[in-house]
């Protein structure tokens, strides 16, 4: 790139980063604002954080979201990893068709996933509650898990498995001691993706959760709809800081695993 182009693109990118971050900083700043209605700065306070931690609704929504995210992660990681291995390793009739099928949840508007599940539950007479949320989340997360694990499998050498078999390992030993350790970074990255997708998912949860079993995004939605409340600022700030910490830790762990995997090969 020429120097002039680089300067123009660089200053443009700085503007884009400002566009990304200024709103987030405003939310953080206003979480310490001593005014309960306006968006005018009146003074410093930490009272919104105090009222947040005594808010039972929020605490139970956090609990619900974590429960759904854990269940979604376990199921979608297993389903997606098995499917990725099958699609990568075997040739069979209908493979192309299945490849397309697994992309559908990625391209499907979330609202259609949500309302069609709502229709299904109504049809079979199922009462909406916490456990009607994760089936939809698994549908969405499984495809992403599959794509991530498939990407990892592309660097996978089948000769490793053959070598294990030649050395007398049976099918299970080959899987657990050769195949799985090799694809593990991919599986870990995929499960983290599934976890964040579920934790953050609003639309499907909105349609499939029952009264009294709000997930955190559903609760945030109803809070934001009721209007500007400083408690949302405090909650958002905590979530943002939490996300930054998670991103930093996960990034470091993944880089370590990857470099270790690189040494081995």
């Amino acid at each position: 790139m020429r120097k002039k182009t680089k300067i123009i693109l660089g200053s443009f990118s700085v503007l884009v980063f400002l566009f990304f971050y200024i709103p987030l900083f405003v939310v953080m700043a206003f979480s310490f604002n001593d005014s309960s209605v306006g968006t005018v700065w009146t003074g410093f306070t930490t009272q919104w954080y105090e009222s947040l931690f005594s808010n039972r609704q929020i605490l139970s929504a956090v609990q619900n979201s974590l429960y759904i995210a854990v269940v979604t992660t376990i199921i979608s990681t297993i389903l997606g990893t098995l499917a990725a291995i099958a699609l990568y390793r075997y040739n069979f009739p209908g493979k192309r068709f299945l490849n397309v099928i697994f992309y559908i949840p990625v391209a499907m508007p979330e609202i259609v996933v949500g309302i069609s599940l709502l229709a299904l539950y109504a049809m079979v007479g199922m009462t909406l509650g916490l456990n009607t949320v994760f089936p939809g989340h698994v549908v969405m997360a499984t495809s992403f898990v599959m794509l991530v694990v498939m990407a990892r499998l592309h660097g996978f050498d089948p000769a490793m498995e053959e070598a294990a078999k030649d050395l007398g390992a049976n099918k299970w030993q080959t899987f657990w001691r050769v195949t799985f350790p090799l694809i593990f970074p991919g599986v870990l990255a995929a499960s983290l993706l599934a976890f964040t997708i579920s934790l953050d998912e609003f639309v499907v949860a909105f349609f499939t959760t029952g009264p009294g079993s709000n997930t955190l995004p559903v609760l945030i939605y109803s809070m934001v709809r009721r209007g500007v409340s400083p408690e949302i600022n405090a909650l958002s700030t905590i979530l943002l800081i939490f996300i930054v910490i998670v991103v930093l830790i996960v990034g470091r762990v993944l880089i370590q695993i990857q470099s270790r995997g690189g040494d081995r090969s």
Partner: protein
């Protein structure tokens, strides 16, 4: 044959799950969309086109058209902003990973919270208006919230990372030797970009456009939170049909139309770009 049996055994859990919780429900709303409305949310399973006739009412057609226009405008802005931005990140050497993480952080925070941030900023008494008032550029607050402008801002803010990440991935994978070859053959920077870089990174652009347009055209929270339902999109109508008016036939018919719209735009766009990039590389 054994390998085939293994493949199906590995695939069957995912297939069963997708069938139960995606294929069957979508089939169900397709049936509902062609059923008869018995009033008070009652569904009578007799064939009827009423819901589609209702959906093709000018009132709904206008909302569908508006949704397409807003989503389209946002997607174009995301592309125009996202491509040069992704290009810069991909060429920023050792800073690359840090800049990428900086893009991911807002992306991983909840969309509702990010939209709420814009409520604070765009409000009549909001940060932007107060700033402009205090430096005297304007004498009265500008109404930004509750307008199409706020919807476009919300969409671009919410979905820009969906555009940046796939484009970044394709620029990142671009083999620098192609660029050197173009330069050796006497192409200037502009024609190298238009005839080499852009066609090769087209898959990333296509992926980015879909990942932006599909959520943008079907979203209901942006209009909901930034215009307080004063302006509506097809997503708002579908939601209201299901949870407020209990007109499931109409909600289902509009959902089927939304899926058809997404499918159609995917087909048109892939056809358009594939013929175009073929011409450009020739």
């Amino acid at each position: 044959m054994k390998p085939i049996r293994n493949a199906y055994a590995l695939l069957s859990p995912a297939i069963v799950w997708l069938t139960l919780f995606l294929v069957v429900p979508v089939a169900l709303i397709t049936v509902i969309s062609f059923s008869t409305d018995g009033g008070y949310g009652l569904i009578i399973y007799e064939f009827s086109l009423d819901a589609y006739l209702q959906a093709f009412d000018p009132f709904y057609l206008q909302i569908i058209w508006q949704s397409i226009v807003w989503a389209f405008v946002s997607t174009v802005i995301c592309l125009l902003v996202g491509y040069p931005f992704a290009y810069f990140i991909a060429h920023s050497g050792k800073w690359k990973n840090i800049l990428l993480i900086l893009v991911m952080i807002p992306f991983w925070s909840n969309l509702l919270i990010r939209l709420y941030a814009w409520v604070i900023l765009l409000n009549n008494e909001g940060v932007i208006n107060q700033l402009l008032l205090s430096i005297g550029i304007i004498s009265e607050p500008i109404t930004m919230l509750y307008t199409p402008f706020s919807i476009i801002v919300g969409m671009v803010y919410g979905f820009l990372p969906f555009m940046i990440l796939p484009i970044y991935a394709s620029i990142e994978q671009l083999d620098r030797r192609y660029l050197e070859a173009a330069e050796d053959l006497g192409a200037g920077p502009v024609s190298t970009f238009l005839r080499v870089t852009l066609p090769i990174t087209m898959p990333g652009v296509i992926a980015g456009v879909f990942m932006t347009f599909i959520p943008a055209v079907s979203v209901f929270v942006i209009t909901d939170l930034l215009t307080g339902n004063r302006l509506v999109m097809i997503g708002n109508v579908i939601r209201d049909a299901f949870v407020v008016e209990m007109n499931w036939q109409l909600g289902s018919a509009l959902s089927i139309l939304l899926m058809a719209l997404v499918l159609l735009s995917v087909l048109i766009f892939t056809r358009f770009t594939s013929s175009r990039s073929k011409r450009m590389t020739r």
